[in-house]
Amino acid sequence: MSLLANVSMEFLVATGIGWVTACGVYLMLRGRSFPVVLGLTLLGYAVNIFIFVMGRLWSGAPPILGQGAVQADPLPQALVLTAIVIGFATTGFVIELALRSRAEAGTDHVDGREPGERPERDA
């Protein structure tokens, strides 16, 4: 218990972001389109939290002037909203694209063919 009490919030958030990023990178390097999409999504989540944390961690500090002695920085919060919206749109697109790619190629491998299959004549 005392061990946990000594762990700072910064440490927890930092390791959390690191862990999610690592999972995202691992999944992104898989050969199938579904894990790649999941990896990109996880990476997006990690990056969003990272932007938010770049405004430093505060508690009990509103991001609005005149509500108390301490204010949190509102700008990273505004940035992260923009990043979330863009990330959401691109995720939607990449899922659709992965589905179409699977339908066209008959496989969900990112190379458009199963491993070991002979490539079509590559120009």
């Binding site: 700072s8 919030m9 910064e10 992104m28 389109s33 790649v36 990109l40 990476l43 997006g44 990690a46 990056v47 990272f50 932007i51 770049m54 405004g55 430093r56 961690l57 505060w58 508690s59 009990g60 500090a61 108390g68 002695a69 301490v70 920085d73 700008l75 990273p76 940035l79 923009t82 990043a83 863009i86 749109a89 691109t90 697109f93 990449v94 694209l97 992965a98 179409r100 790619s101 066209e104 190629a105 990112v110 190379d111 458009g112 590559d122 120009a123």
Partner: protein, 536 residues
């Protein structure tokens, strides 16, 4: 009444000119989406698109003429004061990039209106969105806004890339999207690290703030700058981040690939803005973070790309490798980090974009006359228009390889001159000249196979009719613009010299954007923290 109305309109036009290159394509695109893309609406869509891009070209030329007086045009969106609101800044470099974008877009759109736009949905609207993203990236004065416009142009490019569909396009499309989403994540990490340590994302504010950052924060700031170099390197196809480009550009339809010729230049532009200006020679402890990397990587990119040119088995892939080779030369010029090097890089960049765009279009016209041989570099049936296409290819190839008196030669000569006297001069000379020679060799090989090794027994399997003058007009216009760069080399190099000098002059930049110099406008996080209260 009429006169006053006209006066008001003129005043509004002058006041808002800086934002028009972004607004015009976005409004055009929305309007096109409202019209819809039924087959009977196509002629109208084509007219609207062409008029819009032509108008955009005129706006860009007007901005360039104004920028040439040396004045910075600063547009504060919503009239919010500079570091807090969004600013658009048009200087010589931005105006030049706007003109280049529109000058490439107009012939390409003309070409696409010859038939490619019928092979998929919403081509014209997406084309306009792509232009909006490109123009926005070139005029924005804020790093986060640069990210947003990057996303706009990328999302449009994702869909344009798979225009025309087909298995190969979906395959490279997925890879292209994945690599760019990963790059976008890195972009966000870099931008937020910069914000956390400099307290601002406004480029002018950063230019005065970055030199003041010291200690640990400066180290993180440098790491962030290098992260951004990776991101822009992906866009610009800098070695070793170029791997996505040849397959992607070769798979895209011809007009889309020709338009994409400008996309690598967005990466180059961003490297100039961030690494040659914000983290440039005057950036104190963080000065020239990209210094040790850019020149060697640029030269290596050129060498590797020219091997690609030599080994390419299809014409679009050869042209795609030429794109990479030109980026290598341009970034080597930028990597000299001197006004002369920058000026040379800018001149060469404009020229190579025009030539590469023309080559992508020519490659398709050529392939259409070769029956089953299509765009593969192997003997095929006799061409319908061997002399005309051959001469155009010769002109483009000689310009790409850098033969005098074409502008490619002038650009490379400027790079060589800019490197004289520095330690790495032998490397720059050796690589630039080798790349030029090998490019010539690769293009000569392709040209002799395509035009001279005919297989008469296949005669008749190709298209009997040649390319129509209407379709030929686009590559001819692009090549003509390239040749014009040779004729106007004097004024143009004066312009690029002035643009490079303007970029080096951080004081006037800061003064023009922020109004005052040296005023701390935003509060960076630093010690002591405010009271320490409220911290977890």
């Amino acid at each position: 009444m009429n006169a006053t109305f006209a006066d008001v309109m003129m005043q509004m036009f002058r006041q808002h000119l800086a934002v028009l290159p972004v607004l015009l394509p976005s409004l055009t695109a929305v309007f096109m989406l409202l019209i819809g893309d039924r087959a009977d609406a196509l002629p109208r869509l084509r007219r609207i698109a062409l008029v819009s891009v032509a108008l955009g070209l005129m706006f860009a030329l007007k901005l360039a003429l104004e920028a040439d007086s040396g004045a910075l045009r600063v547009y504060r969106v919503g009239d919010w004061p500079a570091p807090f609101g969004i600013v658009l800044v048009v200087d010589r470099l931005s105006a030049m990039m706007l003109v280049l974008t529109q000058a490439v877009a107009l012939p390409v759109l003309w070409y696409a209106a010859g038939g490619w736009d019928t092979r998929g949905r919403h081509f014209h609207a997406l084309f306009q969105f792509q232009l909006m993203g490109l123009n926005g990236a070139f005029v924005t004065g804020d790093l986060f806004n640069l990210f947003v416009f990057f996303e706009v142009l990328l999302i449009a490019s994702y869909v344009l890339l798979i225009h025309g569909q087909g298995r190969e396009r979906f395959r490279v499309g997925l890879q292209y999207v994945a690599i760019n989403l990963a790059a976008s994540a890195l972009f966000l990490i870099g931008v937020s690290l910069i914000y956390a340590n400099a307290g601002t994302l406004n480029m002018a504010d950063l230019a005065q703030r970055v030199p003041l950052v010291e200690g640990d924060a400066a180290v993180v700031l440098k790491a962030a700058a290098l992260l951004l170099l990776v991101v822009f390197g992906v866009k610009a196809a800098l070695l070793p981040l170029h791997l996505w480009l040849p397959a992607t550009y070769a798979a895209a339809s011809a007009p889309v690939a020709a338009l994409f010729a400008i996309m690598t230049k967005v990466g180059v532009y961003s490297i100039v803005r961030v690494h040659a200006v914000i983290f440039g020679a005057d950036a104190g402890g963080s000065a020239l973070v990209a210094g040790p990397w850019l020149l060697p990587l640029g030269l290596a990119t050129g060498l590797l790309a020219v091997c690609g040119v030599l080994s390419a088995r299809s014409l679009p892939r050869l042209v795609a490798w030429l794109t990479v080779a030109s980026v290598g030369t341009v970034l080597a010029g930028v990597g000299l980090f001197s006004p002369a090097g920058l000026s040379a890089a800018l001149y060469y960049m404009v020229h190579s974009t025009l030539v590469v765009a023309a080559l992508f279009l020519l490659a398709e016209l050529l392939a259409a006359q070769r029956g089953d041989a299509a765009d593969r570099i192997e003997p095929g049936p006799p061409l319908a228009q061997p002399a005309l296409l051959g001469l155009l290819m010769l002109l483009a190839a000689a310009s790409a390889a850098g033969l005098p008196p074409l502008p490619g030669f002038i650009g490379k000569l400027m790079v060589l001159q800019a490197s004289s006297g520095i330690a790495s001069q032998p490397w720059v000379w050796a690589v630039v000249l080798t790349v030029g020679f090998l490019t010539l060799l690769g293009l000569a090989r392709a040209g002799s196979v395509l035009f001279w090794s005919e297989r008469p027994e296949l005669a008749g399997s190709g298209t009997p009719a040649g390319a129509s003058p209407r379709m030929l007009a686009a590559p001819v216009a692009l090549l003509g613009a390239g040749v014009l760069m040779s004729v106007l080399a004097g004024p143009l190099t004066r312009y690029t010299d002035a643009a490079a000098a303007q970029l080096a002059d951080r004081r006037s930049y800061v003064q023009a954007v922020l109004g005052v110099e040296g005023v701390i406008t935003t509060r960076p996080y630093g010690f002591p923290a405010p009271d320490g209260e409220g911290r977890p």
